[in-house]
């Protein structure tokens, strides 16, 4: 059996990739993907804990996270489409109507 530490290590590495991707990439689609990566890293750690502790709460939370992530992606992309119709930009450097 794979020990718990490996799963937690994997999850934290993926989470960090997501955080760094979100912070350094400037394309909104890539930023959205980074957020999905972060959420899935959380799912890995929750399922690993849940299996290790023989407790179902973690897996229940994973179901909710998957559902919320889907609606989040739907809303995020809808906002992006609305933005793109007004101004053909997916790069955060080009979206600078407001500053200060």
């Amino acid at each position: 059996m794979v020990p718990l530490n490996w799963y937690i290590g994997l999850s934290s590495v993926i989470f960090m990739i997501g955080v760094v991707g979100f912070l350094i990439r400037r394309n909104i689609i890539v930023m959205l993907m980074s957020i999905e990566l972060m959420l899935n890293a959380v799912n890995i750690s929750l399922v690993a804990f849940s299996h290790y502790l023989q407790d179902l709460r973690g897996q229940i939370l994973v179901f909710f996270v998957i559902t919320v992530a889907a609606s989040e992606a739907a809303i995020g992309l809808a906002i992006l489409v609305a933005l793109y119709k007004n101004k053909a930009a997916v790069h955060t450097n080009e979206i600078t109507e407001m500053k200060g």
Binding site: M38, V42, L61, F64, A82, I95, E97, G100
Partner: protein, 460 residues
């Protein structure tokens, strides 16, 4: 397996809100004129207010707790909802954003906040938070043909989604550490084990995520842009509701789950609070747009309210709740005046307002005095309570810092008063009065004075 049917009495207010929000979505398809939906929303808020006092109790196996703490917050959310609907009725027609979904989303967002305030379990907390956040993302971008509104929505969405993933990672660490997500059980577990590195890490992640929600520095970057770009009525809604909901969960999690490791989180929160007051008050000095200025002022106010949490006593918690209630009235009042003026988004638009519209200028003066914290307005009572609780808890030095920042804030609030009364007007100010907006301004002014003179109506 036999699953008992849960007791639904404690969740009645939330059920009413969620059902009404769905009904409004259907009515939206039938009705051409959307103003009845606003009336319906206010009726629903009234009905919910009626059911809130009788909803005491726990249900769903302790996952949902309705106690006096959550009830007070639900009262704030209802005040916020009713005032927002009143100020937005004519405004969204003017802005060509009159969709039926507007009211439905307001109800869904408020339902999310109510669930957050009542959460007895981190799963419920997360779901309430997402319901609130997802609805407010759309509301921020509801003027979908306006590039500024789009930009506000996308910025709010990206940072909001980022912060909720941080929250989830914190929750997963807590779950691995304590084997449960139930707030009361986490508290019982931590009482036995004490501090550890994973606990500190998850506490930091959770604190960071909540700081995003209440727009506390250094996680405030989204607030000015979002507040400026969103429709003004939604700015008013966002500056009170999600902030109060954020404080509700801070109280639940830090006073509930992390009670026994208070020394650890107080240190984190003191740093955040001082930085928040500094950033909010100092950057507000240089703003030229009143919505941006009010955004920075709302960041500063989050700093003051956070002081109540830091005090770590019941009195501090109560002061924080009272402060948020008072803040709801005075802040929505100020935004109502911005909406009342046809051109009121730039601070120079207020030059000489007292000459062309003396009544409007006088009302704005009241709200600015209240936001500064000058007696006999409500803002004074709010700050007084917070500072008293802080001093009684032994943080006199922190109260001194807060008072200094509070006096800095007088500069930018009173600058608007000075513009109105002491500068010459450039052109006659045009106003867009409507009965509902008048009612909202009337209620807020009345409450600002009533609370200022008789504080007992909000304390206790």
């Amino acid at each position: 397996m036999n699953i008992p049917f849960p007791n639904l009495a404690p969740v009645t207010p939330e059920i009413i809100m969620a059902v009404a929000a769905s009904i409004i979505l259907i009515f939206d398809l039938i009705l051409k004129d959307k103003s009845p939906l606003a009336l319906l929303t206010i009726c629903v808020a009234g009905a919910t207010l009626y059911f809130i006092p009788s909803s005491l109790g726990e249900t769903f196996g302790g996952m949902f707790i309705s106690d006096s703490y959550s009830m007070y917050f639900k009262l704030i959310f209802m005040v916020n909802l009713i005032l927002t609907v009143l100020i937005s009725l004519k405004y969204i027609q003017r802005q060509k954003a009159e969709y039926g979904e507007y009211y439905s989303l307001l109800l869904f967002a408020t339902t999310g906040m109510m669930i957050m305030a009542s959460s007895g379990d981190l799963i419920v907390l997360y779901l309430g938070l997402e319901l609130m956040a997802l609805s407010t993302y759309i509301l921020a971008g509801i003027k979908r043909h306006d590039i500024k509104s789009n930009e506000a929505a996308i910025k709010y969405f990206l940072l909001g989604a980022f912060s909720s993933s941080l929250l989830l990672y914190g929750i997963s660490l807590i779950y691995g550490l304590t084997t449960t997500t139930d707030i009361a059980k986490i508290a019982a577990y931590l009482k036995q084990t004490g501090t550890s590195t994973p606990l500190l890490m998850s506490m930091i992640l959770i604190a960071v995520s909540f700081s995003f929600k209440i727009a506390a520095a250094p996680f405030h970057m989204w607030a000015p842009d979002v507040y400026e770009g969103a429709p003004t009525s939604i700015t008013a809604f966002m500056s009170v509701g999600p902030k109060a909901a954020g404080f509700a969960v801070i109280g639940r999690v830090f006073y509930g789950a992390f009670q026994s490791v208070q020394a650890d989180w107080t240190g984190i929160l003191i740093g955040i609070a001082i930085l928040t007051m500094a950033v909010g008050n100092i950057i507000a000095l240089s703003q030229t747009n009143i919505k941006r200025m009010l955004a920075y002022s709302s960041i500063a106010h989050a700093g003051y309210a956070l002081l109540g949490v830091i005090a770590g006593t019941q009195a501090g918690l109560h002061a924080m709740m009272t402060y948020l209630m008072i803040y709801a009235f005075m802040n929505i009042g100020a935004f109502a005046i911005v909406i009342l003026l046809d051109k009121g988004e730039e601070i120079k638009d207020y030059n000489g307002l007292a000459k062309s519209r003396p009544a409007v200028a006088a009302l704005m003066l009241v709200f600015m005095f209240s936001l500064t914290g000058i007696p006999p307005t409500a803002g004074f009572i709010g700050k007084f309570n917070i500072f008293m609780a802080l001093i009684n808890a032994g943080y006199a030095w922190l109260a001194v810092i807060a008072v200094i920042f509070s006096s800095i804030s007088a500069y930018y609030y009173l600058r608007i008063v000075m513009n109105m009364y002491m500068k010459d007007m450039e052109e006659e100010a045009v106003i867009n009065p409507s009965p509902s907006l008048g009612l909202a301004i009337g209620i807020t002014v009345l409450m600002v004075f009533a609370i200022g003179i008789m504080p007992s109506i909000v304390i206790g």
